[in-house]
């Protein structure tokens, strides 16, 4: 389900791309056993960029963004996030994960904790924030995603769209500098997609650096400053959204766009 671009209202005034590099991926390769899933990935993301990653199923989109916070390990090349290179060093990995928020297709909220506890857990344990302060912070972000009244419910009692917004709030409570989204709307019903996209637009308007795997091309057009197309483990094409959609160069990109725009 694609929400059309006209439905999204975007204020681009705060969206500024700085010269500061947030993520630098150089000659990165990854294998699953014998299967070469990511091939020769080179990508530089500056602070304030909103990047949408598109591509057919199985092209390695999830794998790539999961490498950025080391949920997956790469075998060659380098990934530098916030100036810290990702290696086997656990302390450094935790350091990077603190600064990089992530939202998943299936939300991955903690079902045994209330919404509020979901949001305060990491600040309390990882940032060593006092409980009171963490709760105030959590309520602040829950209001921003427009569900402060659900704070004492459990995730199972919320709708899918609400759960995904809680997941976004949970990440924001850690005050991340970069946000990764892996198909945040693809498990949702059409009417809930918009509420989640609105939240993401709000984030973009505030200047958050975002990497977003999504099939919402309306979102890509309006919010992204760059669209990346992946196929068979490689970055095949990237461009500004206007150019990318109106004037694709690669045959595979054209085929893909014709398929998703076709209906």
């Amino acid at each position: 389900m694609t929400v059309s671009a006209e439905e999204i209202d975007v204020d681009r005034s705060q969206m500024k791309v700085s010269d500061d590099v947030a993520i630098q991926i150089t000659d990165m390769n990854k294998w699953y056993g014998q299967f070469h899933v990511l091939r020769d990935i080179n990508l530089t993301v500056n602070r304030g960029e909103r990047i949408v990653i598109a591509g057919p199923s199985g092209s390695g989109k999830s794998t790539m963004i999961r490498c950025i916070n080391r949920l997956e390990e790469h075998q060659s090349g380098s990934i530098v996030v916030n100036g810290v290179e990702l290696t086997g060093d656990l302390k450094r990995i935790d350091e990077i994960r603190r600064e990089v928020g992530m939202c998943f297709q299936h939300f991955n909220l903690f079902p045994h904790l209330t919404i509020l506890e979901n949001c305060t857990l990491a600040p309390i344990w990882v940032r060593k924030m006092p409980k009171r302060e963490a709760e105030e912070r959590a309520m602040h972000f829950l209001s921003r995603v427009k569900i402060p009244d659900q704070a004492h419910k459990y995730p199972g009692q919320l709708s899918g769209g609400q759960q995904q917004r809680v997941a976004i709030a949970r990440s924001l409570c850690m005050n991340p500098q970069i946000m990764l989204f892996d198909e945040p709307t693809s498990a949702l019903d059409p009417e809930m997609i918009k509420e989640v996209l609105d939240t993401m637009v709000d984030l973009a308007e505030e200047g958050m650096t975002m990497l977003c795997v999504t099939h919402e091309m309306g979102f890509a057009r309006k919010v992204a400053n760059r669209v990346i197309f992946m196929d068979r483990g490689q970055i095949v094409e990237q461009n500004e959204p206007e150019e990318f959609f109106n004037n694709p160069q690669n045959e595979r990109t054209k085929l893909f766009l014709s398929q998703i725009m076709g209906h």
């Binding site: 350091e95 998943f104 991955n108 903690f110 079902p111 045994h112 344990w125």
Partner: protein, 468 residues
């Protein structure tokens, strides 16, 4: 309404009035509805030959089960209460439960049921074994503290339950040990040099790693150093308490018996096997090959050997490996055997729970920067353990009943202690054995049933938390 929805030729249909909201039909609710759904329906259907045969069979089966159940229960009630010998005014022994023809005091035409004078006369033996009479206040105090502690920690309405739990897990074992044994033991001199040193080193490493000092290995394992260091410190404090002179007469564990031994073995096994089982389950899923292999070997070994064999080997073979002259307390041996045995089972139960937790949960926690141990403790274990409460309690109950096997190495647990009185000729009557076994069964049943009910109420409470 112009067009009926049932009219086949019409597709269009618009409802003009709401259908009325009605109560459910009377014969589907209440006691009658319940009876109808559950059995009346299946035995009142005579519409054709097959259903009639089935109904008749159901009626016969129901009648048989009712008769059988009621007669069994009636038999038990009759034996225990109606025919039971409750009074013993003359203070006689076996004569109190024998008819005159058998050489006793009861009229010849009386059916003799449970011999309660026998239980009353042996009650202390059943509860404490041969624990010295003058010191019985010590096990009594332990029982009292245990009961208070359990109510405090297990009853959800009590305040400060975490403090209660900490006291029960840390302080109570020491208090119980000192009270029951009398302490004043001696430890080899070397212990007092080596152990504090090891403790200090472990705690120091844990502290340094936490502060980011030391090499990579120190940092990575600072949690493990802390854990092990605290455990060593606890043993040290325990050893101090055990070697101190508290002014109590020492009571050898050979004199312990009955319910006391059963509870000591079961409670130690229960409290130690859960954490041990969790560690083993985590170890079995570890990506570190050495940890994984050790855990698998441990679990498979202890699961593959019958408990009787374990206990036998501990009493027959262990002394062969120990230096001559050293003795290893029987009770301690039984405790270790039962605990390790139960923890292997516990590990597999817990592993089942760990496997049921979707990978997304760990990934969600990791993406927030939580470390492996934080993720395990705060996200994975609470969910996994909630899922496997029935399995955990199952293991606890199994362990509780397996304590009867310690009689194999000469310990007198409740069953062993009761059995021992069957050889006592002063209480030899035809009803002594049935009475004794009945008492044992009743006591075991009460404990196991309480555990089972408590686990069910806990499940209900935890499930309410994240109702889907």
């Amino acid at each position: 309404m112009t067009s009926s929805p049932h009219a086949p030729q019409s597709v269009a249909y618009v409802r003009t009035e709401d259908a009325p909201i009605l109560p459910p039909p009377a014969n589907t609710t209440g006691l009658y509805g319940w009876a109808r759904r559950n059995f009346l329906d299946s035995m009142t259907d005579f519409s054709d030959v097959g259903s009639s045969v089935r109904s008749v069979l159901m009626i016969l089966l129901t009648a048989f089960l009712l008769w059988f159940g009621i007669s069994q229960i009636w038999g038990l009630i009759k034996f225990v209460f109606i025919d039971g010998i409750w009074s013993n005014p003359t203070g006689a022994r076996r004569e109190a439960c024998l008819t005159q023809a058998q050489g006793g005091l009861l009229p010849n035409d009386q059916t003799v049921g449970a011999c309660w004078p026998y239980v009353a006369a042996n009650a202390k033996l059943f509860i404490y074994g041969r624990y010295p009479m003058a010191e019985l206040w010590r096990p009594n105090l332990v029982f009292l503290l245990l009961a208070l502690g359990l109510v405090w920690t297990l009853w959800s309405r009590m305040p400060y339950r975490k403090i209660g739990a900490a006291l029960m897990l840390v302080v109570f074992p020491m208090v119980a040990f000192v009270l029951l044994t009398g302490a004043d033991l001696s430890a080899p001199k070397a212990f007092w040099y080596v152990w504090p040193l090891a403790t200090a080193i472990l705690l120091g490493l844990g502290w340094a790693g936490g502060k980011g000092m030391g090499g990579e290995a120190v940092k990575a394992f600072s949690g493990a150093f802390w854990g092990l260091g605290l455990f060593f410190a606890y043993i040290l404090v325990f050893a101090l308490a055990a070697t101190m002179n508290w002014g109590l007469n020492s009571v050898t564990t050979r004199d312990w018996g009955g319910l006391l031994v059963t509870l000591v073995v079961a409670l130690t096994g229960i409290t130690a096997s859960l954490p041990l089982g969790i560690l083993l389950a985590l170890g079995r899923r570890s990506t570190l090959p050495a940890v994984k292999i050790l855990s698998v070997a441990f679990i498979e070994f202890w699961r593959g050997v019958p408990l009787i064999t374990v206990l036998f080997m501990s009493s027959v073979m262990l002394p062969l490996f120990l230096p001559p002259g050293t003795s290893f307390n029987d009770l301690l041996r039984a405790l270790i055997g039962v605990t390790l045995f139960a923890s292997a089972y516990m590990a597999e139960v817990v592993r089942g729970g760990l496997q049921a937790i979707p990978k997304g949960q760990t990934e969600g926690a990791q993406s927030l920067g939580l470390s492996f141990w934080e993720t395990t403790r705060l996200i994975v274990l609470p969910q996994a353990l909630t899922l496997v409460i029935p399995g955990i309690v199952n293991t606890f109950i199994g362990l509780f009943k397996d304590t009867t096997l310690v009689s194999i190495i000469g310990m007198f647990d409740l069953l062993g202690q009761v059995s021992s009185t069957f050889a006592d000729s002063s209480w030899a009557t035809p009803v002594t054995r049935p009475t004794g076994y009945l008492v044992v069964a009743a006591i075991f049943f009460v404990f196991c049933f309480l555990m089972s009910r408590y686990s069910m109420s806990m499940e209900k409470k935890l499930r309410r938390g994240h109702a889907r």
